[in-house]
Symmetry: C3
Subunit: 350 residues, 3 copies
């Protein structure tokens, strides 16, 4: 799968600057510790700068101006990002378009773009539109009137329900469900009447949805996931949520209905978010936290209910001390009562 390239070629590919011998041949990528003379490595964290002196790597990706200890280097602004791009270049193979394979169930009214692959067992409903170079794996199901953009990967057994729209460069991992009915019921005595969920889900460009994650369609209007936002596995997004751009929603997070999440928000694993609230841009919520109400932008929060992250760190450190504190408190009560009694007696005696 890999192919040998010169350091100069790689620098050109990345828009970086060669320091040292651009003719060095690179055929693999590896960490500083394990790289050999045919491997390129990277220095992202200044903490490890000393390891550059000791690495056996043929070349090092590093920030401009770093000490390269005589090594051949490619200087780039963001070495970690460039290393990820080289991982893609070296170790992944572009999907060859295979067309619509036998045993794929594609409706006659569906419009399938150029250079796509539709695998056996995939089911594509009436009037569905599938963009160019998109791949639909076995068992994936697109209900009627779905629109999928170009360069998408719809993995096995993912489901997109009727009328939902998926942008370009999106990925659905296996088992992801887009457009399930929102959990909306009107009380009818002790019972519940299902409120029809007639809205849709829209995923903007570059959205990725983890395995077995679920995004409910809106009651009316739209549940929306903004451009570039990534969802991990087993995430729940309820109806009418509006999630901003470039968010990271880690595994097993649950977001209740009509929540509005800003741009570049990170929700760590197992966080729960209540409905009808707003989380500001650039917010970071710590793992397992429960967000009961809106959170102002540009800050970190933790706990159930959430508080500023640093306060939470201090508070939870006290929790294991609570039994001791309770004992101390009881003892102090007694001692103070004794002091009060003594003083009262003193006064009487005086």
């Amino acid at each position: 799968m890999t192919r040998t390239r010169t350091v100069a070629e790689l620098a050109e590919y990345l828009g970086g600057v060669v320091q040292g011998d651009g003719t060095t041949l690179i055929s693999s990528l590896a960490p500083l510790e394990t790289a050999d003379a045919t491997a390129l490595t990277f220095l992202a964290n200044p903490k490890y700068a000393g390891k550059v002196a000791e690495t056996s790597a043929g070349a090092v990706l590093m920030a401009p101006g770093g000490e390269r200890h005589g090594r051949t280097a490619i200087e780039v602004a963001n070495p970690y990002l460039c290393f990820a791009k080289l991982l893609t270049l070296f170790y992944t193979t572009p999907h060859l378009p295979l067309g619509t394979l036998p045993a794929a169930n594609v409706s006659e009214t569906a419009q399938v773009g150029a250079n796509t692959t539709i695998y056996p067992g995939a089911c594509i409903g009436q009037n569905v539109v599938v963009g160019d170079r998109t791949v639909i794996y076995p068992g994936a199901v697109l209900y009627d009137d779905v629109v999928i953009g170009s360069n998408c990967i719809i993995h096995a057994n993912a489901v997109v329900r009727e009328r939902c729209r998926i942008g370009n460069n999106c990925v659905l991992q296996p088992g992801a469900v887009i457009g399930s009915d929102g959990f909306g019921y009107a009380p009818d005595g002790a019972s519940y009447y299902p409120i029809p969920q007639i809205g849709i889900v829209v995923l903007d460009d570059g959205v990725e949805i983890g395995a077995n994650s679920c995004i409910d369609r809106a009651a009316i209007e739209v549940t929306r996931i903004g451009r570039g936002t990534k969802l991990d596995n087993l995430v729940q997004i309820a109806h009418n949520c509006l999630i901003g751009e470039d968010c990271m929603i880690v595994s097993q997070v649950g977001i209740s209905g009509s929540a509005k999440i800003g741009n570049h928000v990170t929700l760590a694993g197992q966080v729960g978010v209540a409905g009808h609230l707003t989380i500001g841009d650039n917010v970071l919520v710590g793992a397992q936290s429960g967000v009961p109400s809106s959170l102002p932008a540009n800050a970190a929060y933790s706990g159930t209910p959430t508080m500023p992250h640093k306060e939470w760190l201090k508070s939870v450190m006290v929790v294991p001390r609570l039994p001791e504190m309770k004992k101390t408190l009881s003892s102090l009560e007694k001692r103070v009562a004794e002091l009060e009694a003594l003083l009262k007696q003193n006064r009487l005696e005086n």
Copy 2:
């Protein structure tokens, strides 16, 4: 999809009473603020009664005797419920029965009712019974000896394992799993021997199961979900649970084995319930709570472990104050010790 109807027609459909002009034509439904003259709106919350004066709606659904500010109204006991029913009437299309489509895999021994639709890619095992008007979407799999009632919707890639029984008017959202093996193992030295899970799952009438939710089959006997109970997405119900009627189990809740949940219980998102306990009727458990032991009926609880909801609200308000309380406590200890020393000295001096 929508069709124009008169206010009088709609009132008759709902069993309501017209106040004003029953010949008004209605072709859509909308909130108070955005409704125009062809739309019907609703007033459910008395807080918004004033908005009836300002709405442009052609007619208002409201409780009997409300101030209608000269608007045409349909008086009904439960305006929100009736609005939901009209959403269904106006905006949803009954599923047209398509029969068993080519590329559906239906066993020859299966009995499929009248006016059903079995989509391509659905798999129906030996001796399965499917009721009238039920719809089975692509990729749904019914193992041998499954029974599905009438008017059910089995969405794409849902799975019902062997011998499980699903009542009438049930909905399985995409990816729901009914009848997976319960998590039961007998210790065998350091290893675990899987205890065969030979029971089944029974869903009573009107049960709805969210996307990618899982209900394990009983070890022996039955895991049962009572009539009208609704499960949101990504919910886990372990083996031998008995869930009552008209419960609301919100997303990502997990219920451990052999738990018994009463009727009309609400478990909010991400709640965890331990096994072999009983939750009484009409209980409400707050989001992310952990229920370690039985909960008496007709009350609200929160926290891990759960306590009465109001106590929890007061307790968690103290948590951010813990560091300060700890400091105060230390300082008080010192001050009391000083007072004690002083008094001892006083006594000696006297």
Copy 3:
């Protein structure tokens, strides 16, 4: 399905010793309370030893030397384990190999072993290897280059992505996903660039994965689940995790990337584990706990963040008392200030 056997036959099957009448005929299995004369029952917990006197069972599985009150008994070292083995013997039917059924999509380059069953709608990619006696249910999808061992059960709509390897005697419940892309992104300004996840997942022999659980493939190298480990439903295992042997991972647990879990570890329901940490052998973590850092072996922990389980039990008992403690603390502050003032005054007066 069941067949009558003598007590002597069952004792031989289990390697146990008959006490009493080995010719007694057994045709079913039941608990102590409900067993009749044709049923065998078991005594595992000494607490219930008295019930042996009252049971109507035809025979009792029990530890050697127990008081059998004149009943026929089979003495075995582990009565509960043996009862589970008899449940398998009496109530489960070996899967009859049906071969590759029509409408199964099996690549011509796949190698399928002897006595397998591949159901309609299953999809098996290029160069896949499937071992003997393995069963692949409808809708299950094996991507290219997957290897599955012998005696495995791959339930409906489970997915195994490219190059992942599954040992012998493994079970994937419906909807399980093995080898989804790890959640790894390199920041690129405000956006995120997906780091290619080029590693795989390896499940060792005897691993069982619950319904809709997800195991991410490694970024590079391997995400591994050790021999005999069992995962419940809706569990998340992130990329590069190394899980030991004979672990029990209960429903809705989430384990972050590169965590290393020892052997015989139990993580109770909804536990969250941070990344890049180590959990020692034989650790037990209580339900809903959050593990932020490594945990030493051979101990029980609970809470978020985790603390020793017994400390946690004491600490959470104090939480409902916090409002009262806060009040007491305020009142003590006042009383101490008063005492200080009084003493100061006393001193001045003296």
